[in-house]
Amino acid sequence: MLIILVLVFCLMRMVPGNPMYTIQADANLTEEEMFILQEKYGLNGTIFDQFWAYIKRVAVGDWGTSYFNGKAVFENIFARMEPTILITLLSTVITLILGVPIGMYCATHHNSKLDLVLSSTSMLFTIVPSFCFGVGLLYVFAFKLQWFPLYGYQYIEKVGLLESLRHVFLPSLAIGLSGMAGYARHTRSQMLDVLNSDYIRTARAKGLADRAVYYRHALRNVLSYMITMVSGTITVNLGGATVLEKVFNIPGVGLLSYSSLFGKDYPQEQAILIFFAAIFVFTNIFLDIIYKVLDPRIELD
C-alpha cells in the first residue's frame, strides 16, 4: 500500500517534467531548425513527418548522431559529463554547507552585529552573476596565487578524485557562493518563522535549553522546508556549471552545448537538453524520497 502510494506520487511528479514534454518543446524549436536543415540537405517531408520520425527513432533508443563527429549524441554527452556533474555536486554541497549554518546563526542571533554582517556579506555574493566570481577567483587563486590550475580538466580515471576536484573547485566555489546567500536568507527567515511557532514555545516551556530547541526541534522543521529548494538549486547550479565551463575552459557538457549551438549541431543540442531535463526529473524523485523521510505528514497530505 505504502509503496504504491510512493510510486503514484513519484509518477505524478514525473509527468510534468517528463522528457516527453521536453522533446515536444524542443521539437517545436527544431521544427524551424529542421526546416532549414531540410532545405540545406535536400530532405523531404513535412515538419510533422520529421517530428514523427524523430519520435519513432527515439522510441527505439536512437537519439541521433552528432553532425560534428558522427558519434551517437549520448556517447558524446557521457564522455563529457564527468566535470559537469562534479561541478554541480560540489557547488551544491558548498551552497548547503555554507548557507544553512549561516542562516541558522543569523536567526538564532537575530539582530546581533554578526547577523547584520553575515546577512549583508552573503548578499554581496548575489549581486554579480556567478561567472564574474569565476573570473575573479580565476585571477586571484589560479593566476596570482597559483593554488589551482588555470584551465582545463583532468579525468578522475587518470589523476584521481582529488586532482580532478582541484580542477573544478574554483568554478564550483563561484557557483556555490552565488547560491549560498539565497540559502542563508531563506534559512534565516524560515528559522525565524519556526522560532515564533507554538511548538517552539512548547519546547521552551518544557525546559529545553536553547541549543536543544534550535538544533533538535527547529532545525528539522527548517530543513524540511529547505529540501524543497534544493531541486531548484541543482538546476541553477547545473546552468552555472555550463557557463563556468566556458570561463575555465573545462570540456564538460556545457562547453559541448556551447559548441554544438554555435556549430548548429541540433541533434546534439536536443540530446543535451533532454539530458538536463532527465537530471531534473531524477533529482526531484530523489529529493521527494528525502522529503518524505524528513516529514511524516507528506504521505497523508
Binding site: S197, D198, Y199, I200, R201, T202, A203, R204, A205, K206, G207, L208, A209, D210, H217, R220, N221, S224, L294, D295, P296, R297, L300
Partner: protein, 328 residues
C-alpha cells in the same frame, strides 16, 4: 482558610511594557496575586486584557525586548525574573509547567508524540531512553488516552485536537509540577471535549496536588474548575475573590457586565453585552480603566485611579464605589 496554606507563587507589582518605535504601551500595570498550594486560580478577562501575557511572563517565555518587565514573581523563595536562564530552564516543565491555547500547533509536527513526552523525563529526571519511554506511556495512560503504546508512536497530525491537548497535559504533568499554568486550554476545543478536558484536569489536580493558574475568558469554565478568581481589565486586576463569593456578590461593574453576558438556562432574552470596546494597548484610560464603559462612572473615576479596596472575605475590588466599605 487560605491564609494557612502555603504560597506557591506570588506575583508582586508586575509591570510590563512593549517597546515600540513611537511609544511603549504599558500592557500590565501593578498586577499582584498569589497562587496557593493545591488550589486553582482563575484569571479571566476579555482578549487583550493582559492575561496571556501574565501567564507567559511567569515562565519568562516573552521575548525581551520588545517586552520589558518589572516587579517580582516569587516561586519557592526565588524571584523568577532574576534567575539566570539556565536555572529557569530547570524550573520550566519541571516545577512550573504550561499548557497552551492551540493544541493543533503546540506540538512539533515532525516528532513522534512519545518522543516529545520522553524528552521531559530525560531532561528533568535524567532517565534513560527505555525508562523515559515507559514513563511516557504511563503518562499517556494517565490522561486517559486509549492505546497509549500505539499513540506514542504516532505523529501529532494523526491525533485529534482533544487528544493533542491531552498529550500537552500529559507533558505538563510529567514531572508533577508545583504549578501548572494553563493558558486557555479549552478555548480551541469543542464543548464536549472541553468538558472532558476540564474533568481530566480536575481529577489530575486531586491526584497530583498541583496548583493551577487557569487563564480563560469564559466565566462558565471558571465556575466549574476554579477556587479563586482574578478578573483583569486593561492590564489591571479589577476584582479578585473566591469563586462562590464572586458569583454571589460581584462588585465591579465590569464583573457584573461579564456575568450578565453568561447564558442562563430558562432565560430566552437576547444576551446582554457590555457597551463599548476594550481600548487598544497604549490607549488605556488614565483614571479608572473601565470608566469609559461604566454606567456608574463619575468625574472622580475619570480623573483618578482607584485602589483595590478590600470588601472582606478575601474579596477586593478596584472601584471607588467600594472605597468606604467597612471590612467585616
Amino acid at each position: 482558610m487560605m491564609e494557612n496554606k502555603e504560597k506557591v507563587l506570588s506575583v508582586k507589582d508586575l509591570n510590563l511594557w512593549f517597546d515600540g518605535d513611537f511609544s511603549s504601551p504599558q500592557i500590565l500595570n501593578n498586577v499582584n496575586f498569589e497562587v496557593y498550594k493545591g488550589e486553582t486560580l482563575g484569571i479571566a478577562g476579555e482578549s487583550g486584557c493582559g492575561k496571556s501575557v501574565t501567564s507567559l511572563s511567569v515562565l519568562r517565555l516573552l521575548k525581551t525586548p520588545p517586552a520589558r518587565i518589572q516587579g517580582t514573581i516569587e516561586f519557592q523563595g526565588e524571584n523568577l525574573l532574576e534567575l539566570p536562564m539556565s536555572k529557569m530552564q530547570k524550573i520550566r516543565g519541571n516545577k512550573i509547567a504550561m499548557i497552551f491555547q492551540e493544541p493543533m500547533t503546540s506540538l512539533n509536527p515532525l516528532f513522534k508524540v512519545g518522543y516529545q513526552l520522553e524528552e521531559v523525563f530525560r531532561l528533568h529526571q535524567g532517565l534513560s531512553k527505555e525508562e523515559a519511554k515507559k514513563k511516557a506511556i504511563e503518562m499517556l495512560d494517565a490522561v486517559r488516552i486509549p492505546l497509549p503504546e500505539q499513540r506514542a508512536k504516532e505523529f501529532p497530525f494523526q491525533l485529534s485536537g482533544g487528544m493533542r491537548q491531552r498529550v500537552m497535559i500529559a507533558m505538563a504533568l510529567s514531572c508533577r509540577p508545583e504549578l501548572l499554568v494553563a493558558d486557555e486550554p479549552t478555548t480551541a476545543l469543542d464543548v464536549t471535549i472541553q468538558a472532558q478536558v476540564l474533568d481530566l484536569m480536575r481529577n489530575l489536580q486531586k491526584e497530583f496536588g498541583t496548583a493551577i493558574m487557569f487563564i480563560t475568558h469564559d466565566l462558565g469554565v471558571i465556575r466549574e474548575i476554579c477556587d479563586r478568581v482574578v478578573i483583569m481589565y486593561c492590564g489591571e486586576i479589577v476584582e479578585t475573590a473566591k469563586v462562590e463569593e464572586l458569583f454571589a456578590n460581584p462588585c465591579h461593574p465590569y464583573t457584573n457586565g461579564l456575568l450578565s453576558t453568561l447564558p442562563q438556562s430558562g432565560v430566552k432574552d437576547r444576551l446582554p453585552t457590555i457597551p463599548g470596546m476594550v481600548p487598544p494597548a497604549g490607549k488605556f484610560p488614565s483614571g479608572c480603566v473601565f470608566s469609559p464603559r461604566c454606567e456608574h462612572a463619575c468625574e472622580q473615576c475619570i480623573a483618578n485611579k482607584p485602589e483595590l479596596y478590600d470588601v472582606g472575605n478575601g474579596h477586593s475590588v478596584r472601584c471607588f464605589r467600594y472605597q468606604n466599605t467597612e471590612v467585616k
